[in-house]
Amino acid sequence: EDVKLGFLGGFTGPIETLVPPIHDAAALAVKHVNDQGGILGGQLSMVQADSTCIDATAASNAADRLVNAENVTALVGPLCSGETIAAANSAAIPGNVVIVSPAATSPALSTIEDNDLLFRTTPSDAYSGEVLAKLLKDKGHDNIAVTYVNNDYGKGFAEALQSSFEALGGTVAANEAHEDGKADYRAEIGSLASSGAQMLVILAYVDGSGQTIVRQALESGDFSQFAGGDGMIGDSLVTAIGEGKLDGFIGTKIGRSETPGTGMYAELAKEGGLDPNASFGPQAYDAAFLLALAIEKNGSADREGVSAALREVATAPGETIFPGEWEKAKKLIAEGTDVNYEGASGSHEFDEAGDVPGVIIEMVVEGPGFKEVGQVQ
Amino acid sequence: MPKIIDVQNVTKRFGNVLAVDDCSLSVEEGTITGLIGPNGAGKTTLFNMVAGAFPPTSGRILLGGEDVTGLKAHALFARGLLRTFQIAQDFSNMTALENLMLVPAGQSGESLFSACFRRGKVTAEEDETRRRADEVMQVIRLSHVKNERAGNLSGGQKKLLELGRVMMAKPRVVLLDEIAAGVNRTLLNDLAAVVQSLNREDGLTFFVIEHDMDLIARLCDPVIVMAAGSVMMQGPMSEIRNDPEVIEAYFGGAPAAGAH
């Protein structure tokens, strides 16, 4: 029996630069499944649809096409939070389709009435903000300016960061939104610089406003120290700004604990020609891989039971499965042994709401790109 | 006779062009008053102000004794004043017939509510309006093109349409701006007769700008001569035609046209 997964992402629209690597990571998981014996005796395939990130109408329409026309068994979910909610409520939940978002970080997702169908392989923003605040404070920054891209991601992150940072006794001298995609941010930087802070925290996307802001802030000499959230992690930032100019940039990145899975994924990704550090790439790989495991476990291409199976294959106890180990997992499942997937981006122990506890990695720019410093405790 | 149009010390400036300069004149009810003058004398500008296209820079305009300075065109129409345009202003994407059917005031079908929900009444009114428009079309000899887009009419036909509107509206006062320019002379004779009968039988007052002296002589009494933005003289055509100043400014030294 062949099995079809759906992939929803904003191939056009504001995050169109981020989406292709994410999609490719999910496709890599599909490839691994097929290369190592396939699924349920057949092949796993993945169809794509463009959910545009910002346009809820388009997102729910795209989700609907996958659910109702393509008849997918499960969805590797949209990436932005708004479109994820739209896709879930208008197509996935009524269609009884499990939807796993690798990148939607809004806390709003936790509270949706989803019949246990909505999951994500990335922790919510609230957690990332907290961790970044602590990291900055530990490094001796007491006075920071924050600028965030004005969407659910940026806003949730910035709010969490501000409240945690202030709770730790630091000062957030400015916390200002900016719109993505503009040609120029000097005015915003000016407003931030007027607050007197030396450290600028940028919660935006590396190929969008984030890069421009870093560049212009450096050029104008208003800031010399920078930090950013997971949206800012990407070697293209360093390439674009110039090697050496960004050394010391502090970043946090979601969910790749130093489990063996991380390293294994890095190998596999390189083998497959992908950038292992791409934002949300590992999460997407995990989402697709987890769904494949759940379907295999569930024993049919039907939608019924996928959700329960997903919880089983993702959580302990069970024999540990790492990225790329499809053949092994398949065998164990066939034997009736319980498996537990420890993924590229964390161990994915889903809680009640379908969220995963966060694991945050500290990153720093060194030389030509980002380097992992280690997991933040 | 009472003054139906009374222009008092009206001035109009466009930037540094003084188009109408402290001009005072009046039109008596029931007359066909002519307005002639050299090109650029300010005649059309004066009409524009009387008809509410724009307000005067200074001065007052009375219509039937009421101060109407600065009122908008549609408000003046409601008070019984209709104007035609020197450069024909048709509704070019509507048929010639619709151009006429548009004109009558107070059509109940012009309210959205009636148009949607009181179809009987509106339809009856429409039939009547169409009948009248058809009649007018006969008079201005446009019946054969009544369903043509007005924008496709020839230059002269557009002028005729302007005149057709006057017949549709039956207002109190009509401002005619060079209605004859480009109209065939044979037809013009008939139209002049129509104007005269509207004036005599329906009591319409006409205020007429014209460069065709035959027509002025035939229709108008009195005639007002404008030059350089103000009134130069006023009187019956016979007097004006022989006034040396007018001849100099307007007829250009040559014996007045139409005097043959």
Binding site: I112 | A73, L102
Partner: protein, 422 residues
């Protein structure tokens, strides 16, 4: 009865075939969804055809009206948020509202003071000062209220009234905004008006996006209640068919009324105003009032359509009303169908929406085919990112279709007909 005209029959028959093909290809559930969305767009497009096709009003701010109407639907029909009502929020908001009312009243009074002999420049100055003080005072009261509400209750929630009430309210408020906006912009000529409407719509959208206490901002509100049973209760096809019937009824009613109006003296007057304002004014038509009437009416309809569309998608996301895409979409529907022709507009809405949604599977299928052929005939190894590029090519497919259709039917597929009286 007259026989239906050839062109209309052929076009609608063709469209029916296309839709039938979509049904066969993608199944009923998805196809009914597509039709329902298209129907909502058709309502919006009818609103726009009134404004542009009837009156020549260049409204490119329509997403502002859609957003506002959608928000009103949320406010009216979303379940009541008791945490908000039990907290201090309502009181603080009430105070802010009172301040606003007083401030506006004073500003309005001052702005008319020239009637009592105050010199104009002084009046302008005083008005500006009064407006600024009002702004600051309201802002000063609203800020703490907003913070409090956001912290304690999330946002104000709704009133839990029926959905249709939300739609009507949405239409009315959109009309009201249209009225205010019309007062400002209707004096402008087409191109200038376009940018002014766009500007005001952007302001409205920015407000909705950033007033978290009122709209939940980027956190979005979902799921919105439906006027008919939801897919979870009835299954996809049945519930969407029910929704589709509701929108279809709206379209039919609008269509009948608009046709009547268009073929009456009212329609004639509107055409005249569109054609030649100067002359229409000289024929006694009150241009400004009539254009305002059109603008408000059009926005009312746009509001209803927008509310229906957003309700259908189940989510109110103030960031989702992208300025260009949707505005283009509706404009293309109107122009391609035939501005000033109601049937054409409905046709255009259906056709363009089908193109819009089908562009994606078509682009994918085309690339797949290319990959397949390339592989089997030339041994071509398709690049790995073919799928992602294919999805991005959907915009190309849409653009190509639009240009081709316009190229061969430059007046729209069902152009406005010159009204003739035989």
């Amino acid at each position: 009865m007259r026989t239906p005209p050839l062109r209309e029959t052929v076009l609608f028959a063709g469209l029916a075939v296309v839709i039938a093909a979509v049904f066969a290809w993608l199944g009923a559930a998805y196809s009914v969804r597509m039709l329902t969305e298209a129907a909502c767009y058709a309502i919006i497009a009818l609103g726009l055809t009134i404004q542009w096709g009837y009156a020549g009003l260049f409204n490119v701010g329509l997403m502002g009206f859609v957003a506002l109407a959608a928000f009103m639907t949320v406010l009216v029909s979303y379940p009541v948020n008791w945490t908000f009502w039990e907290g201090e929020g309502p009181m603080l908001l009430g105070q802010a509202l009172l301040t606003l009312v007083i401030g506006v009243a004073i500003t309005w009074g001052v702005s008319r003071s020239h009637r009592h002999g105050v010199p104009k420049w002084l009046r302008t100055l005083l008005t500006l000062v009064a407006a600024a003080i009002t702004y600051l005072a309201v802002q000063g009261q609203l800020d703490p209220a907003a913070t409090l509400i956001e912290r304690e209750a999330g946002f104000v929630g709704g009133f839990g009234l029926p959905v249709w009430a939300g739609w009507v309210a949405g239409g009315l408020v959109a009309g009201l905004l249209g009225w205010a906006m019309g007062r400002i912009t209707l004096g402008l000529r087409a191109d200038y008006m376009a940018i002014a409407t766009l500007g005001i719509a952007e302001i409205v959208k920015a407000f909705l996006k950033n007033a978290d206490w009122l709209t939940r901002g980027t956190l979005t509100v979902s799921p919105l209640p439906w006027p008919v049973p939801t897919p979870q209760e009835l299954g996809f096809v049945a519930s969407r068919a029910a929704y589709l019937s509701v929108t279809a009824v709206i379209i039919v009613v609008l269509y009948v009324l608009l046709e009547r109006a268009w073929h009456s003296p009212w329609g004639r007057m509107m055409r005249a105003i569109r054609d030649n304002e100067v002359s229409a004014a000289a024929m006694g038509k009150d241009i400004n009032r009539r254009r305002l009437e059109m603008f408000v009416l059009g926005n009312f309809i746009i509001g209803i359509g927008g509310a229906a569309l957003i309700t259908f998608t189940t989510i109110f996301d103030p960031a989702a009303f992208a300025p260009l895409n949707h505005t283009f979409l509706v404009w293309v529907m109107v122009i391609l169908g035939g501005a000033g022709n109601n049937l054409g507009t409905i046709f255009g809405a259906l056709l363009v929406y089908v193109i819009w949604t089908m562009s994606e599977p078509i682009a994918l299928a085309a690339f797949m085919l290319a990959e397949h052929w390339g592989d089997s005939f030339f041994g071509w190894d398709a690049p790995a990112d073919l799928h992602t590029r294919a999805l991005q090519m959907r915009v190309f497919v849409i653009g190509l279709t639009i240009t081709l259709v316009l190229r061969f039917a430059p007046k729209g597929l069902l152009p406005e007909k010159v009204v003739r009286h035989e």
